[in-house]
């Protein structure tokens, strides 16, 4: 500062002279300075506005993409669900309809049998024609003293009594026979009832499936029409799935870490190489590869079971080959699980040996820790853990697929949010810059307030300020 002093021995006078000079200079340069500040404000505000517009545009693009993706995903999901339902119906119908001719035949047989039994029930022994009337006429005849007539009448009475007895006997026999036929009809009725129940169950199943398909079709139509509520629901569903998959993946990552640590040490016995890859010992890399291979085998197994759909090409593979791949994947997984179990046992042996060595080097004769470790429990526990973890890791394929499929929506949503935020910041920045330049202009005027007041007094308010126009075009709130 002292360099600018006119009279270094008299700083006060120097500062005063500098102040006067600055007042004169700034007053003279007031108009161009105001214009310059206004232009700078406009330039910065414009730049921020362009930035905000760009952010808004990109956010719109990302949002549209997200919407399209969500709609496509929803369509795909609903189509898959409908397809699955149709597949189920097809299966059920194929099963039920295949059984239907049998059922129908059975039902026909039963009905025929029941009909025949019923017909048989209806048949009764016919009574002798006119016999009853003849007996009634004889019984109405007046009593006669003639012995021959009486004898004849008595014989007729005897015959009538015998006939009645015989008729009663026949009636009883016929009734018993009918009852027997009716009782033999009971199983047929039961069978008919059972068949009818089966048919009813099949029909109700089909009706339920139809209802489900109807629901899916409704949502499919909504998705196709890009209904806002349906799209929002799909988006929320995708977010929910992503969060759940992320949690499961985090847990699986923990499992993979445990698995890796379980086999990393014993792997150095199997892969005895001093070389390193990217700073990591080959044995560690081998352990990592084993863990990744388990995940890969799991992915293929899940793919072949039809649970995931990572590789659409594998859908085209015939069933027999799919079965072969499944067997290979599951077999590989089993082998890896067995290897891990054995490595876990080896690990325990190495740890025991190292503990014993350390104790020996330290000169400790009895090492209780090593004795505790010699118990079978840790060995069995580690072996079981080594066997189970690969199977658990194999299931990572399901959350992995969900995370990948819903990840796009999450990324686009996050990008949209960030871009909206960026746009907002740019807009605020634009306003801020404009007001800042305006504030600088006011500060400028405050600094040269004395010359300005002098100018005002001199002009006495008659002559407009040369920067009035400039001031008028100032800040745009």
């Amino acid at each position: 500062m002292q360099r600018f002093y006119f009279w270094p021995t008299n700083p006060a006078a120097s500062i005063f002279a500098l102040w006067v000079l600055s007042q004169i200079f700034l007053y003279a340069a007031r108009v161009p300075m105001h214009r310059a500040l206004r232009e700078v404000g406009r330039l910065l505000g414009g730049a921020f506005r362009i930035g905000a517009r760009w952010c808004r545009g990109l956010a719109g693009v990302a949002s549209r993409r997200d919407h399209e993706m969500i709609v496509e995903m929803g369509k795909g999901d609903t189509e898959a669900k409908i397809g699955r339902e149709f597949h189920r119906i097809e299966g059920a119908f194929a099963k039920e309809l295949a059984r239907y001719p049998d059922l129908h035949r059975k039902l026909d047989d039963v009905v025929t049998k029941v009909d025949a039994d019923f017909q048989e029930c209806a048949t009764a022994a016919p009574a002798a024609p006119g016999w009853t009337e003849a007996v009634a006429a004889v019984s109405k005849m007046p009593p006669n003293t003639d012995g021959v007539v009486r004898k004849v009448l008595e014989e007729i009475q005897k015959s009538a009594v015998a006939g009645e007895k015989k008729a009663l006997q026949e009636f009883r026999e016929a009734t018993a026979k009918r009852h027997k036929i009716l009782s033999s009809m009971a199983p047929a009725w039961k069978e008919m009832q059972k068949i009818a129940t089966e048919v009813a169950r099949a029909v109700s199943g089909a009706l339920e499936a139809t209802k489900r398909i109807d629901g899916f079709m409704t949502s499919y139509e909504k998705v196709r029409a890009a209904d806002k509520n349906a799209t929002r629901a799909l988006g929320w569903n995708a977010t929910q799935l992503f969060v759940v998959s992320l949690l499961v993946m985090a847990v699986a990552l923990g499992g993979a870490f445990v698995n890796f640590n379980l086999i990393a040490l014993p792997m150095s016995e199997l892969v005895p190489s001093g070389s390193r890859i990217a700073g990591m010992p080959v044995s560690t890399v081998a352990a990592l590869v084993v863990v990744l291979m388990e995940i890969a085998a799991g992915v293929f197994a899940m793919e072949m079971l039809g649970i995931t759909n990572f590789f659409p090409k594998l859908d085209l593979v015939p069933k027999s080959r799919r079965r072969i791949i499944l067997v290979v994947a599951v077999g590989g997984l089993f082998m890896l699980a067995c290897i891990e179990a054995s490595l876990a046992i080896l690990r325990e042996q190495i740890v025991e040996s190292t503990t014993a060595l350390k104790a020996s080097l330290a000169g400790v004769k009895d090492h209780p820790v090593a004795q505790t470790a010699a118990s079978r429990i840790p060995v069995i526990g580690q072996a079981v853990l080594g066997f189970i973890l690969p199977w658990i890791l194999a299931m990572v394929a399901v959350p992995l697929e969900t995370m990948i499929s819903t990840g796009g929506h999450i990324v686009l949503s996050a990008a949209t949010g960030l871009l909206h935020g960026g746009g907002m910041v740019c807009r605020l920045g634009g306003h801020g810059m404009r007001y800042l330049c305006e504030a600088v202009r006011h500060v400028y005027d405050i600094y040269i307030v004395i010359p300005l007041q002098i100018e005002r007094l001199v002009s006495n308010g008659s002559k407009p300020s040369p920067v009035a126009g400039v001031r008028g075009q100032g800040a745009r709130p």
């Binding site: 040490l265 150095s268 016995e269 005895p272 190489s273 001093g274 070389s275 390193r276 890859i277 990217a278 700073g279 010992p281 044995s283 190495i350 040996s353 190292t354 060595l357 350390k358 020996s360 080097l361 330290a362 000169g363």
Partner: protein, 217 residues
């Protein structure tokens, strides 16, 4: 496509490296001259408890005796590079421990103390190991006393990249009378060794700290 494969293969090959540069090589120089000769059992104990358990597969340990003329191969009491298999490495450690035990019971006492000769021999072993971390642990009173006619001029980069730890430095009779002389002796060693490329010179008083210092590398 071929070019991409070639680049990927080159990257993979480039990322592969020998494990030696990640391993550790330790040279322990054990003084058997004069007043320090009776310290051997204690020194061996420190190596057994503080150095051996810290070694991992691939590491190297060389034990060199400091006597009247130390720059001889016969002064190497034990030399071992641990196998990469942990089980074999453990067996090697046990074997080395028994070798050191035998060394501690040997009747050895030299008239002179050739520290720099042992250092030069140890530096050669360290260079040969090609290890990433090289440490020289000296168990001595750090009072050099060369026999007549013996010359020890170390090269400027003799101890390049080597960390020197002066362990269990025994104070001599006249050190008690004048501690400044003891300190000046150690400062002189520090100056000399760092001028020959040593990465660091550190005096360690507590044997328990040696393990931590070795881990720090």
């Amino acid at each position: 496509m071929n070019r991409a494969c070639f680049v990927a293969a080159a990257l993979l090959a480039g990322s592969c490296s020998s494990g030696a540069q990640y391993s550790q090589a330790i040279v322990a120089l054990v003084d058997v001259s004069g007043t320090y000769a009776d310290q051997r059992p204690e020194v061996v104990n420190v190596i057994r408890k503080g150095v051996l358990p810290r070694l991992t597969p691939g590491d190297t340990l060389v034990v060199i005796r400091i006597d009247s003329e130390s720059y001889k191969k016969a002064n190497v009491e034990a030399s071992m590079t641990l196998d990469v298999r942990p089980s074999k490495a453990n067996a090697q450690k046990l074997q080395l421990a028994s070798t050191l035990e035998a060394f501690s019971h040997k009747q050895l006492r030299s008239a002179h103390t050739d520290i720099r000769g042992a250092m030069m021999l140890g530096a050669e072993y360290l260079r040969e190991s090609n290890a990433g971390r090289r440490t020289m642990v000296i168990f001595s009173d750090m009072e050099e006393d060369l026999p007549r006619g013996v010359k020890r001029d170390m090269a400027a980069d003799e101890l390049k990249g080597v960390r020197v730890l002066a362990m269990n430095v025994k104070r001599l009779g006249h050190d008690n009378a004048n501690p400044t002389a003891y300190r000046a002796r150690l400062a002189g060693w520090e100056k000399q060794l760092t001028s020959h490329g040593a990465r660091e010179f550190k005096v360690v008083l507590e044997p328990e700290k040696l393990s931590d210092l070795l881990d720090e590398g």
